[in-house]
């Protein structure tokens, strides 16, 4: 292998690619060639770096210099100054909102400083399409240890002792799940990796599979050894084409290296993995429904027991875990249960990956130890609320979760405490909401999502969600009745009781938690016909502040319904009757002269 004096880790995650990071690569190659540096400096396409908001991102090693928001224009200057003359370019570094000077080192940036990487241990450091780089970072040593010096029951004990719990959301102890499957009887046993990440607002599974597919494969192979399975399926949703592609490549590479297939590492153990693409149904994230989908049946969940551990895919004992859970396994085997269980709280050990998104400054993917407070996540890592507005709530757990208000910001995060607060851990989406987010609208959004995704098998879920949606829509339109909130609470209880799977069972969380913490917002919609956040269309109107308006006529040009008229350099007029409340004027106005009332 050739030696290079510098490595440029260019993020090729979906976020950065959509910000044209591959064009940056082209320019870099061209410039490096121009300065005859192509044999001294290597460009590496890595998986998602995590700090998606600042893309495209490149980290230059040695020195761990963090460059962000690169454009093709910046590249000639950057190559000449830094890579040729050795002077890092300050203008392209990241300046945190609260500081004045740019922070050159990635590890010193607030967004990265508080993080603790286990599942994401290789992010931004390796080329996910090259198994050699994974191995060079200590990859597959956990598998070697598990296959050569541990008995299956010892592997299970190690995982049990580590306290690892299912990262898909429900938090069932992984070691115990493995033990059930290991003890179950069946001619054949199967392993499934659930990468059907359906929660809106969450993308950690995508990121792990795209940036480090081998960690998932290694974890699955260790699990297969522990429970005695020889075949596995990875169920990836079809919306993630890059993840499917990378995983397929990774499987082929592992086979070439004798780390998958027949006689792994010469121990005689055989294990094979098949990638299965989903076809777009949220309910497929539920395990029994995922199995039905895998078998080609219509993906409706069924009653448990029997659990998949007794009767899963093709009626055989099946162990199903989430991507993030599998990615944790190799590190636990490598470093031991004791090391892993030091992190976290009494009941929830280790770290958790969250996608921190919504109205927060630093959006992206983070991995933090369990027990960290929400305040730390939002303000230290996330850098605070966008445009320094007022924080209102944070939504965790996707459509099965709830909204947590400001009073609970010092809540340490673990499975139990989030459940007590009326939300759930879920797969790890964290959507920050500010004063401009209407909580009734959020509840309506989730109910709308769920009513579309309900498979329709249980009447309570199918019909109940429909009724809730209608009630919530009426409230949003200002036609709500005083009794509606009570009626919603009653419906929530009925749906949770009468549904077979978790989709219906937890569907009430977004509604109940918003009623619990934001009852006053419901009331101002119902009693005063007002939407305090200025979101619900029927209850708002746009106004022009005549003092701030400079008469630039940008709004006039963009208004789709010709509701705004005016002369240059004169305050414009808005005709309320013609206004369709699309909000374009609000969006384009540079002088904040458009108000929502």
């Amino acid at each position: 292998m050739a030696e290079y004096r510098m490595h440029l880790m260019l993020c090729a995650g979906t976020g950065c690619v959509s910000n044209r990071s591959l064009k940056i690569e082209e320019s870099l190659e061209k410039e490096l060639k121009k300065h005859k540096l192509e044999e001294e400096i290597l460009i590496v396409r890595t998986g998602c770096n995590g700090f998606c908001a600042q893309g495209p991102i490149m980290v230059a090693h040695p020195g761990e210099i963090f460059y962000q928001m690169l454009t093709q224009k910046d590249i000639p200057h950057l190559v000449e100054e830094h890579f040729l003359k050795g002077r890092p370019v300050k203008e392209l570094m990241y300046t945190p909102p609260e500081e004045k000077a740019p922070v050159p080192k990635m590890g010193d940036i607030g967004f990265f400083r508080e993080q603790r990487l286990i599942a994401l241990r290789n992010r931004g450091l390796i080329d996910p399409e090259r198994i050699e780089e994974y191995i060079a970072r200590g990859g597959y040593t956990g598998l070697a240890k598990a296959l050569t010096s541990m008995r299956p029951d010892e592997i299970i004990k190690e995982i049990k002792d580590s306290g690892l719990r299912g990262r898909g959301g429900a938090g069932f102890p992984t070691g115990r799940k493995w033990e059930f499957t290991a003890k179950a009887e069946g001619e054949e046993k199967y392993i499934i990796c659930n990468a059907d990440e359906g929660d809106p607002g969450a993308f950690m599974d995508r990121s792990i599979v795209e940036s480090d597919p081998h960690s998932v494969l290694e974890g699955m192979t260790i699990g297969a050894r522990a429970i005695g399975a020889h075949h596995a399926y990875i169920y990836i949703r079809t919306e993630y084409p890059i993840a499917v592609e990378r995983m397929r490549k990774a499987i082929n590479q592992a086979k070439e290296y004798g780390l998958l297939g027949e006689d792994i590492l010469g121990t005689g153990f055989r294990f094979d993995v098949t990638v299965h693409r989903g076809a777009g149904a949220f309910v497929c994230g539920e395990e029994t429904s995922l199995i039905a989908s895998l078998e080609g049946r219509s993906p409706e969940p069924r009653i448990r027991p029997p659990f998949p551990a007794q009767s899963g895919v093709w009626g055989m004992p099946t162990n199903i875990n989430n991507v993030e859970t599998w990615a944790n396994v190799p590190e636990i085997i490598n470093r031991g249960a004791g090391w892993y269980s030091q992190l976290g709280t009494d009941t929830s050990k280790g770290t958790k990956v969250f996608s921190l998104v919504g109205k927060v400054k630093n959006t992206g993917l983070i991995e933090v130890p369990m027990g960290i407070t929400l305040r730390k996540i939002i303000y230290d890592i996330g850098g605070g609320i966008l445009e320094d507005k007022k924080f209102k709530a944070i939504q965790t757990g996707g459509p099965s979760g709830g909204c947590i208000p400001e009073e609970l910001l010092d809540l340490p995060i673990d499975y139990e405490r989030l459940t007590e607060a009326g939300s759930i851990m879920g797969s790890g989406g964290m959507i920050v909401m500010d004063e401009g987010t209407c909580m009734v609208d959020v509840a309506r959004y989730f109910v709308d999502f769920l009513r579309g995704e309900s498979c329709g098998k249980c009447t309570s879920c199918r019909e109940g969600l429909e009724s809730m949606y209608q009630i919530l829509t009426e409230i949003c339109e200002g036609k709500g009745k005083e009794s509606d909130v009570e009626l919603l609470e009653e419906l929530c209880a009925a749906i949770a009781d009468g549904s077979m799977c978790a989709l219906g069972g937890t569907a009430s969380n977004p509604v109940l938690s918003t009623i619990r913490y934001f009852r006053n917002e419901y009331q101002s919609h119902i009693r005063d016909q007002e939407c305090p956040a200025g979101v619900c269309r029927e209850l708002i109107h746009y106004l022009i502040d005549r003092e701030k308006c400079t008469g630039c006529l940008l709004c006039v040009k963009n208004c789709p319904s010709d509701a705004i008229t005016g002369e240059r350099k004169e305050p414009v007029n808005l005709n309320q009757e013609k206004c369709i409340k699309c909000g374009i004027c609000f969006e384009v106005c540079k002088f904040k002269a458009v108000e929502v009332k």
Partner: protein, 304 residues
């Protein structure tokens, strides 16, 4: 009017209720109580339908078996009700008041008059749970040569046995942009999978379309992060701009507008994908400009 008059003449001798779920059972009971002779027909080996599988009913959460069981017993005992199970309707002729229905009764291989439903045959059967094959479509549709070639190739990739239907449909959907009807029929006969099952799958998942779609699929992400950052307004702006509603295709087959649950790019919310290109942090004004580019592209392509 003629129909009504025949009915008024009282020509109704008996009623056939098709489907023995709770609705069918209740209808049969009501009719039987009013003095009609009722035939209650069900495809399955027993009446009761889905409700028999449920624990509770909506919205009162009453025990579902407690409601259903007495009605089943009533239907079974009623003098005026004749239950025909494991049967299909073959044909219906006539007009209201004067129907002739041919019913095909499938073999049960058990003497119903003697069976007590003790269930020990079920427990002792060596080939239990064997599925009765659905009647398959026998006429294989003719395909054009190029379609036949394509489909044979796609099926070749997906013929390794169990669970191949979904991947195959995905490949067809990618190849054609939707699932053409003649091809689905062909697959059904060739793979020996009932058409009903294929449609069940094809309509369940969001990833399949039964109608042709545009050259560029515009997907507006409606994930939570995108929602709070204004995705619904982006969708409306696109609807206005293209003159179509979500789910529709423009008449020139250039664009199809779709709303998707989440594309997993939440850090860049709100997000729109057009074909294979992803656009992050879009605004109503920006996206309209972007769309113009695609309109232009198609125009340029058509010109050359």
């Amino acid at each position: 009017m003629s129909n009504l008059s025949t009915m008024q003449k009282g020509k109704i001798a008996s009623v056939l209720v098709i489907g023995g779920g709770i609705g069918g059972v209740q209808a049969a009971l009501d009719l039987a109580e009013s003095g009609y002779k009722v035939y209650l027909l069900d495809q399955r080996p027993a009446i009761g339908g889905t409700m028999a599988q449920l624990d509770k009913t909506f919205p009162t959460n009453d025990c579902s078996m407690c409601i259903l069981a007495p009605k089943l017993v009533d239907a079974g005992r009623h003098q005026n009700i004749e239950i025909i199970t494991m049967a299909d309707v073959d044909s219906i002729e006539g007009e209201p008041g004067m129907f002739k229905v041919r019913v095909k009764k499938n073999p049960r291989f058990v003497d119903e008059s003697k069976c007590t439903g003790c269930g020990s045959c079920w427990n002792n059967c060596p080939v239990r749970n064997m599925v009765q094959p659905d009647e398959k479509e026998t006429v294989k549709p003719e395909l054009e040569e190029k379609d036949l070639e394509k489909i044979t190739e796609l099926m070749g990739d997906n013929k390794d046995g169990r669970g191949t239907l979904v991947p195959l449909l995905q490949d067809i959907n990618t190849e054609y942009g939707y699932l053409p009807q003649n091809i689905i029929r062909y697959v059904s006969t060739d793979l020996d999978i009932p058409l009903s099952q294929i449609y069940n799958i094809a309509t369940f998942y969001k990833g399949f379309s039964l109608t042709p779609r545009g050259r560029y699929i515009i997907s507006v992400c409606l994930g939570t992060a995108c929602h709070v950052r204004g995705a619904p307004k982006i969708l409306e702006a696109l609807e206005r701009d293209l003159g179509i509603k979500v789910g529709q295709t423009t008449s020139d087959l250039n664009f199809t507008l779709e709303a998707v649950r989440c594309v997993g790019c939440c850090g860049l919310a709100p997000v729109v994908t057009i074909g294979d290109d992803l656009y992050g942090k879009v605004t109503q004004v920006k996206i309209q400009k972007t769309i113009e580019k695609y309109k232009g592209r198609e125009y340029a392509k058509a010109k050359t």
